[in-house]
Every structure is written in C-alpha cells, then in structure tokens.
Point group: C2
Chain length 337, copies 2
C-alpha cells in the first residue's frame, strides 16, 4: 500500500519506526507492505514512488529538523501539492492540532479525500471542528476514514465500540481521556502533595506542557469527548456544547476525603445523547476508570453487557503508532487485502 | 440467518431474550434477522423451519424445564439429530461445561462443523480439551467458529486481541478471569472479613457455587487461560500445563499487608509462550487489573501499545448474550451480510 505521511513530528517518526520494525510481521501476518512514497512537513517534502528509505529519512529529519533534508527532498509549502499529485492509497494526516480552525489538517484531509485517497489521522482539530462534514465527504468520495489515534492514543476506544460491542446500544460513555491530568491527580493522591508542586514535577518530566491550560482546564478531554459523541452516539456536537470544569481547584483536602471514602478523583468526560460534560468526579477504587498514572480509560454503559471498559496509554509516539498502524491494517482488510 | 440453539439453560434463555429485545435493532443496524429454527436440550427438542416463537418457547421451557414442552416439541435425546438434520446456518453450543471430556459440547461442535454449519459457543469444555482439533476442523469444513463468550463473559477479550491490536505482537496476557474469586478477594479487602465468612456470603448470594472448588482452586481461571493461550499465542496447551495455586490460603493478614503497600491481591492467570500460571498476585491499586467485585479484566502486554486492558462482567446470561450476539453479527459481516 502506497502511503503519504503529512506531518513528520513525533507521531510521523514513531509511525515510520513502526513501519521499519514491523515490516516482516505485517507482510507475514496480513500480506501488507506499506510503502511510504512521500513525506511532507511544514518546511518541505520528499517523494519517491518506489518507496522512501525510512531509516535515512528519519536520520535526515532528526538531524536537520525537516524531511526536506533527506536525499531528493525539496523545500517549500508542498503539502497540498503532494497530497493531490503523488499517487498513493492512503494519506496519514499527522500535523499538530488546532482545535479552533482545525487547520492545516482540515484542508489536508478534505483535499486527500477529494483526490480519492483514504485518510488516517491522529489530529483532533479537524474532527472537533468538522466531524460530520468529513464523515460525509469520505462517504461521498468513496474513501475510508480512520481516526483511532485521535482519542485514547494507543487505546482502540472507537473501534471497540464499533466492532466488538455491535450487539449493544451505548447509553453512556465515560472517559479518563487525558494522561497529564490523570498523572497529576494520581500523584496528589499517592504523595499527598499539593497541585502546584505536582504540576511543576509533571512539567519537568515532560508530562505536562509549559502552558498546561488545554489539559488542566479539561479542554483536551472535551475535544476527545466531542469526537466520541459524534462518532459513536451520532451527535453533531461542538466544543461549545461541553459543560466543562478543570482540575485546578482540586486541593489535597478533597483528595484526602475521597480516599477516606474508598474513592479517587479523576477528570472524567461524560457523554450521553443530549449531554456532554467534563469535570472532576469521584470514581470508586476498583472501578475500571480508577486507573493511575498517565493511563487513559473509557467505560461504555451498554444495554446488554452493562459496562465494558478499556484502558491503556493515551499518548507517546510508539504507543500511538499501534493505533495508526491498526487503522492501516483495518483499511487493508476492509478493501479485501 | 437460521439458528439452532443447543442447550437452553441460563445462556440459551438469555440469548433468546436478547433476540426478542434486539430484533428491530439488528435488522436496522446490520440487516440481520436471526431466525431460531430449532432449540434442543437434554430432554428434547422443538423445530420450526419458519422460526420458533421465542416468547412462547421461553415460557414453556421455564414452566416445564425443557424445550420439549413447547408447542410441537418432542422428548428424547435429539441433539445430534437436530444438529445434523435441521437446515440452519449457525449452531449455538450452549450446554454445560465438562472440562475433562468436553462432552457433550465437543461432539455437538464437531457434528455441526461436519454438517457445514458455523458454530458459536460459550462452552469452555470443548475448547480446553481440543482447541486445535476444533480450530482445524472448522477450517477444513469451511465454517466459521467463534467462542468469545468462553472467556470473560461479556468482555470481548479474544476479539480485542485479534481485531483491534492487529499491529502488535502479544508478549504476555494477564487476566482476572473469575468473578467469584474476585468478589471474595474484594470483600475480604473492603470488609477485612475472613475467607470463610465471605465465601458463605457469596454462596448465599449465588455468586459462589455450593461446591466452589473449580473457582477457588483456580481451575476455572486455568481453563480460560488455556483458551487464551491456544487462540491468541498459538500454543497447544492443556489444563495440565498450567501451574496453579488457588486462593483458599489467603488470610486477612496478607490482604492487610497488600493494602498497606498500595496493592491488592487478585487471582491472576498469566500466559506467555511456554509458561502458564494461575495464582494470587499483588496488583498495584490504579492498575487496570485491580478491578473490584465480580468484574473480570485482562491486560495484554504488547510491543507497540505497551499495555491495553479490558474489563467488564464475566458472567450473567444477559451480559454473556452480548458476546453471543456479537459473534453472530461478526459471522454475518464476515460472510458479507
């Protein structure tokens, strides 16, 4: 399968490493041979219809900060041109998230679909801004559209609901969808430390960003909740539809009281038809949402199975490549490969 | 799809109720119309090629203890005859588990496959005794073979690994696979009560059986571990290959020490290539295996995603019908329905 990578930051590089590491496994297990025919980033592009040498591409990009530095690479704003002109089966849209405009991912995805290419993305921005539009466009263009990595990183939340809980109706979705806030709340619980100290520690470890607003105020969680609501509950929700409270006012006192009651405090996104909410919630110890550290977890409330929960790592380039690769295998299988 | 139900105990009845409840949902969502053309139990059978009236069948069977009591029903040992002679697409094998001989399920499954019928089962017995034989037989006969409900009840453990973690290699499987022992250990932890008291309580609630040996000694967990190892790790394991310790010697002291260390004691089955083990293990609070009550949970250790865990209810007729129905939908989709 001929693949174009748009965006070559952590995720694009992680996926490339997975392609190298997994080449013989993919061929042996699924008869799948991913051939990366182009890679683009904001500074340039490199194209080789016979398939790029990924090890060399990684080396060049890591040394010089752009794929344009690879042999045969060109500098310039080339994303649209590559997406439209290079012959390929699948476009990976892996550029940074902008939750206000969805750009540049939104345009990349639309252009790819209109050019008849299947799209796999990890980018929350386009989905939050225009889920329904993209979903219909994919259908109209007759292409596959996958976005497993946009929610839960490595955790196949959306595919679980679509493929494995098929006999059930989903009544509610509850999720611990942000690793940074989960790390902070977990450390506050295990260490009894105050919020500011733990936040600083998380920033030093690279778990929290310098400006941690998107995480701490529950905006990242709200984005993922919108994607779950739109893709699994048939809603047409936008970020503004989510009632939202962050974790910045959670003190050691609240944590201690929860502990005494056999509970733990988590930042939980809750979606049911007609209602979207993000806020700190008590979760009983022993409940599958009560996962610690940077883990993500999602619980589906269902009419037959009652509750099914899934948990795993919601971030990290290697972990996320599990979902990005899974989507490619799924498209390969869907097309009868 | 024409369906034969072999076994009409709790699971057969739960599945029938799900067929009734979900009829319009299945038709609308998947174009799937399950038509139960026969039901058999140890006392007799009832056949109607136009499709049985499930509400009446349930009523008759619940009143008189056998499907033979339904209108048109016949008494006698009729399972094999029905499996072989009634025209049908899928045979559900839902008879009680015998982990020594696998019978009568083993014979039922083989006969159904040889008669060209797809098979869905919840029955651990045949799988533990003859996984590889049944797996090859299904392939030779060109039929689908599904057994989601045999491990984890409602929790789609096997399908998760096969379908959603496809890019990963599984390095290890760890599972809390028995709801009874999990309930007992959880109550011992939350109440500080001794084993015998909690066991009696569980027996009164119907969570533990009168003879709880299979659960307490880890035999049920070992059976499920064998099925996971054979189906997901390509092993050809038997029950005797599992090193096994039960939970009967866990005292309040051990529970208390674990708690002090931020851990909890669970009966865990651990499978990796060449090694199968069941025994009480410490699990850190906050780990996805540290689920309470009667929940089951399984953690896959993977090369890309690191760890993915899934949890839910491992028993109960309604819950299990989620898996039994999911298998039917999956066969329907696989056959291009």
């Amino acid at each position: 399968m001929r693949v174009v990578l748009v965006g070559f930051g952590n995720l694009g590089r992680g996926l490339s490493r997975a392609f190298i590491q997994k080449a013989s496994f993919l061929h042996r297990s699924y008869g799948l041979i991913p051939r990366v025919v182009a890679a683009v980033d904001e500074f340039g592009a490199v194209v080789d219809e016979k398939g790029l040498d990924l090890a060399r591409l990684l080396e060049a990009a890591e040394k010089k900060g752009t794929v344009a530095a690879a042999k045969g690479g060109k500098r310039g704003k080339l994303a649209i041109k590559v997406i439209e002109d290079v012959e390929a089966d699948v476009v990976y849209e892996l550029t940074p998230t902008n939750i206000k405009t969805g750009e540049p991912g939104l345009t990349h995805i639309k252009r790819a679909m209109r050019a008849g290419k299947h799209v796999i993305t990890s980018n929350k921005g386009p989905l939050v801004v225009a889920f329904r539009e993209l979903d219909s466009l994919a259908k109209r263009c007759g292409v596959e559209f996958r976005y497993s990595a946009s929610v839960g990183g490595a955790v196949p939340v959306i595919e679980l609901a679509r493929k494995l809980l098929a006999g059930n109706e989903i009544r509610e979705i509850r999720g611990v969808l942000n690793g940074t806030t989960n790390y902070i709340l977990t450390r506050m619980t295990t260490e009894g430390a105050p919020f500011e100290i733990v936040l600083r520690e998380a920033q030093e470890l690279g778990i929290a960003e310098k400006d941690p607003t998107l995480d701490l105020e529950g905006i990242d969680t709200a984005c993922k909740l919108v994607i779950l609501a739109d893709s699994l509950l048939g809603m047409n929700a936008k970020l503004g539809d989510v009632r939202r409270t962050g974790i910045t006012r959670i003190g050691p006192e609240a944590i201690r009281l929860a502990q005494e009651a056999g509970q733990t405090i988590k930042l939980v996104g809750i979606a049911r038809r007609g209602s979207l909410e993000v806020g700190p919630k008590l979760v009983p110890l022993g409940h599958p949402l009560a996962v610690g550290g940077t883990l993500n977890a999602v619980t589906f409330e269902l009419d037959l199975a009652r509750e099914i929960s899934i948990a795993g790592f919601g971030a990290g380039p290697k972990e996320t490549s599990s979902s990005l690769l899974g989507d490619l295998i799924d498209i390969h299988r869907t097309l009868g490969g």
